[in-house]
Symmetry: C2
Subunit: 406 residues, 2 copies
Amino acid sequence: MLIVQKYGGSSVADPARMENVARRVLSARLGGHDVVVVVSARGNTTDRLLDEAQKTNPGAAKREVDMLLATGEQCSCALLAMMIQGMGHSALSLNAYQAGITATSAHMSARIKSIDAHRIKAELDSNQIVIVAGFQGVNRRGDVATLGRGGSDTTAVALAAVLHADICEIYTDVEGVYSADPRIVTTAVKLPEISYFEMLELASLGANVLAKRSVGLAKKYGVRLVVKSSMKDCEGTVVKEEAKMEGIYISGVAVDKDIVRVSISGVKDEPGVWFKVFSIMNRDNIAIDFIQQVRHDDGTKDITFTVAKDEVEGAITALNGSTHRLGFNSVSHCGGIAKLSVVSTGMATNPGVPSMMFEALFDAGINIDSISTSEIRASVLIDTAEADRAANLVHEKFRNGKYIMG
Amino acid sequence: MLIVQKYGGSSVADPARMENVARRVLSARLGGHDVVVVVSARGNTTDRLLDEAQKTNPGAAKREVDMLLATGEQCSCALLAMMIQGMGHSALSLNAYQAGITATSAHMSARIKSIDAHRIKAELDSNQIVIVAGFQGVNRRGDVATLGRGGSDTTAVALAAVLHADICEIYTDVEGVYSADPRIVTTAVKLPEISYFEMLELASLGANVLAKRSVGLAKKYGVRLVVKSSMKDCEGTVVKEEAKMEGIYISGVAVDKDIVRVSISGVKDEPGVWFKVFSIMNRDNIAIDFIQQVRHDDGTKDITFTVAKDEVEGAITALNGSTHRLGFNSVSHCGGIAKLSVVSTGMATNPGVPSMMFEALFDAGINIDSISTSEIRASVLIDTAEADRAANLVHEKFRNGKYIMG
């Protein structure tokens, strides 16, 4: 069997943890498998390097920031290779140049274009445990480009796809994918399995277990993913095409507090307004949700929507730069809101699922600001202060009704 | 003019020092020159990384150690590029892959094989200040190999040779090449110029201003070197084919305390012994000096020679591994000795130079253990405890006789 394993920064943060990772890698190897390992930079290395770049030049070219950041993964994969060698096994580390990972030129948010895996295959053939630096690729100019958030997960899934790995194991500091964030919802349970679709919704809903793009890539290439703990020996969560689903199961209740509401006032009430708003946001790759509008008698309207907290600055800038296209009086934004979502592929054919969420919130006297739904999720916007209590109540409601598989 | 500048680790050890380097680079740029900069890893980064490798696995494959070490220079060149950008100028950093530096496969002591400078030239043509990571090359397998001691100096000289640079400036924490180590000899003076030959002797005699191999490379390709201070604005020392030399000038008095005497006892007194000793040492690239032998009546002899302190272990191992070739009773080594040398190209035609050294030592009652001379240097082995005093007295003797150009 060929196994791709990915370990995040916290799993290799110090020598003791890295040794634990080395043992885990060896256990797969000693089980007779070929193993390719993808590692992130240790602990808070990436943040530390970003901070250094920021202090050196707040406006540093992203190309240079990438040169700096990429060293984090190069260090961790070299050290892990040394540690495995110290345990008496053959291992070698590969940076993006050596691993043949080609990326787009978008520094700090590059995408993997292709992987020339001949070196990796040759090393596997000579019985090496191959350790690849996550989060990085080489662009057309021959420069290092980092892959942005969730980059190492993406490296692992892309390698698993190209190598036709039997499984891609994503090791994290949690034990798998939960029906809700266990830090918030006390009765959250670990799911034995989940579909790509559901995982995609959960990944984009603030359940930070797996990066959304890596799930999308896994779905595209049919890579079987397992999310599991790097600390404990226990079954994780399998992410695959179709999860077992007799009856209606809720895959998760998610809370996202990192959202901000953007309000545009005095927009002319005429056709094409929303098209313009979407196209302005799309240009900068900013996703919007919870769209609302209020018409006024004077032929204008106010429109609001939500964006991720770290994109609000870009959104405001983009809007202000487009006043000529989209006539309006002013743009403002405010926080204090949270998105509470329920995800279930069974929802498409069963409208009872959203109703149960609304009922739980109603019973608790929690006000719903607005609602947004897709085929497999239902989300409500509520006051941030109520978010955790609401998540617990909604989760409890579904759990009592045996809608959560755990 | 095309200038290659090299800055060592101490010159970029902290943000303030790096800013000073950035200003120096810009001053050359604003003088209308094309500038290629080579930087070492900051401060004690390389030692810190080596220590980390050692702790992770004392027997780590050198290939992996190189993966780790190479990040030091990648960080410093990225940060310097950012800093220069912050001052409003175009700059970009290049690691060994990007700079096209090909090296041999000998990890941790690789040699530069060739440089494909097309990327560097293209960046210079687009008015970039190009900052190259020193100390590293890419070997035939596509792996990073570091260049060993003096590696960044060598990178700078090799780039200057390939780019046909007008000058290669080596910035250090001293002001140039001195007639003796100013920390030891109080009356040492900075030399305005020195020949490659003399610099080669001084570099191998413990005057750690320039790595010997970089001087050899500069000589081979006729690269005009200047050694100067990264802190103070003052003339440095020019290293070139033939230094001005009317009359006899002493280029330097050097003290090397990092040597050890190796003694082999009970060697059969027959032809070929020294050939064997040299060939055993050559195999591991170990230079030997101060060769002596004492014949015994029983048909055996004891032989002694000196090696650099950090090569003594290798020397002893090599000898013990060759007992079948070179019959002997035992090998031992002892320290406590220092090499005091005088370097002058004028010496070849003027035997008075060594005599003056011997006279100074005789006057001071310092015992000479043994003597070794070449065309342009005369060295004596003395007690370490006397070394500094001896260096001062010998330097003073030459200075008083106006043999030192300052």
